[in-house]
Symmetry: C2
DNA sequence: ACAATAGTGTCTGTGAGACAGTATCGA
DNA sequence: TCGATACTGTCTCACAGACACTATTGT
């Protein structure tokens, strides 16, 4: 759509003072959360190259020519997980001048949520390096994390917890069809506290619709499968 | 702190593929709100130069060398209004590749709130061009707005309304000492709906503390001045 | 029959919403 | 005394929290 020399660019560059302003690299960093083994986990990569070599880092890509930020984020998710069409949301932009020791890089962080069953057949291009780690353990361990990524993770975790309480984003962490005990467990894991069955069901009732399917083969009463209700406002 | 050629920069630039990735200009755009004449107003500038000349636009600055995003935003506010130390908050980052016809510019938007009394002695360097406009009228009028700034304003307005309902940010729109009818009016203007006196007072009670001062000289019962209570959690 | 988990009925306290009442100024 | 606005008391109702109860499977 845009030629590399649009009308006005010369004028722009003429007024551009490199001593005051600088051209900056823009990256998106991806915070991909899922729930597995009763645990909130995050997708990380282990760096092989110079800055912070050997450290864990968030997966990320540089924003490409002609690409929107959202497109760059989705490309990153695709490269890292092989998935497309998952939930994503821009979180915050981190731009301290020395956050990357190489050159000035500004990072636009995106949160992605995916259910563990979709992520099960993950097989991206770079998956050799990718690891799925329990967030809480990762943050509590002294493990060194590259750049300012530890802080970014803390922030994303805080936002996720907030939004789970007043929106239905947690639905993106379970399969399309899910039981209420299953969904409740996800809420409890993210929020870090137990919930009452009856209250939980009343709360999510307007956001779900029944299916005809039930669990089977377990030594107790089967539970009904539900599906997310499409209509309704889901706020923020 | 950082020299312009830190160790690793050469290696970084060697791997850097300009066909795929590009160096991008990063700007901050400022959404400075205040309340005046029973109206929520926003600070805008009228552009003199090429892209969108003559159009209204959000004030903004390019991020300077060695500057954090927050610092750039505060510098912009200072240049535009002469003020420092006012409330600010990063909102969202806009990066569509053709949002600026000159070259690729990514905009990190910041919301600033200031009370009308502080803004009264505004006298920045570029104020010749600055105007304070009622937000609702501006958006409803067909007036052409530069770049994607109309959308940015819509978003900021939506966020402001949301946060006013569950935080105490509205306090930044009134002077340090304020009466409750005054504060209530600000809430009503931002939310666009009338509130009940008694309920409003109960809601803000934990966030304020009394002073000994009262209004005087008006033909009715005087109202007490309050001050924002420092302690307490103010969420988000 | 029993263990185990799914699912429901209902009491209670808290807080928002609505409205009526009282208080205190200048004229 | 009166008009005008500040401030308070209280009723109602919706909803979150807590807990006890019923339901349905495999063994």
């Amino acid at each position: 759509m845009m030629s590399s020399h649009s009308p006005g660019e010369e004028e722009f560059l003429k007024n551009y003072d490199p001593g005051l302003y600088e051209r900056i690299s823009v990256a998106v960093d991806l915070l991909t959360f899922t729930v597995e083994d009763d645990c909130l986990k995050i997708l990380m990569v282990r760096r092989g190259e110079h800055p912070f070599a050997g450290c864990l880092a968030l997966p990320g890509v540089f924003v490409g020519r002609g690409e929107t930020l959202d497109e760059a984020a989705m490309r990153g998710v695709l490269e890292e997980t092989g998935l497309s069409g998952i939930y994503y949301e821009q979180l915050y932009t981190w731009g301290d001048p020395d956050r990357d020791p190489r050159t000035r890089v500004i990072s636009v962080s995106y949160m992605n949520l995916v259910s563990r069953d979709k992520l099960s057949f993950r097989a991206g291009r770079r998956t050799t390096e990718a690891v799925l780690l329990p967030v809480r353990e990762l943050l509590d361990s002294g493990e060194k994390i590259a750049f300012d990524h530890r802080r970014i993770i803390e922030y994303a975790l805080w936002r996720l917890r907030n939004k789970v309480e007043y929106t239905d984003i947690a639905f993106h962490l379970v399969p399309e069809e899910f039981t209420l005990p299953e969904l409740q467990r996800v809420y409890e894991i993210v929020l870090g506290k137990p919930l009452f069955k009856a209250n939980f069901r009343k709360k999510v009732a307007p956001m779900i619709e029944e299916t005809d399917r039930y669990t089977a083969g377990e030594a107790h009463r089967p539970s009904r499968y539900y599906r997310r209700r499409e209509n309704e406002n889901q706020a923020l």
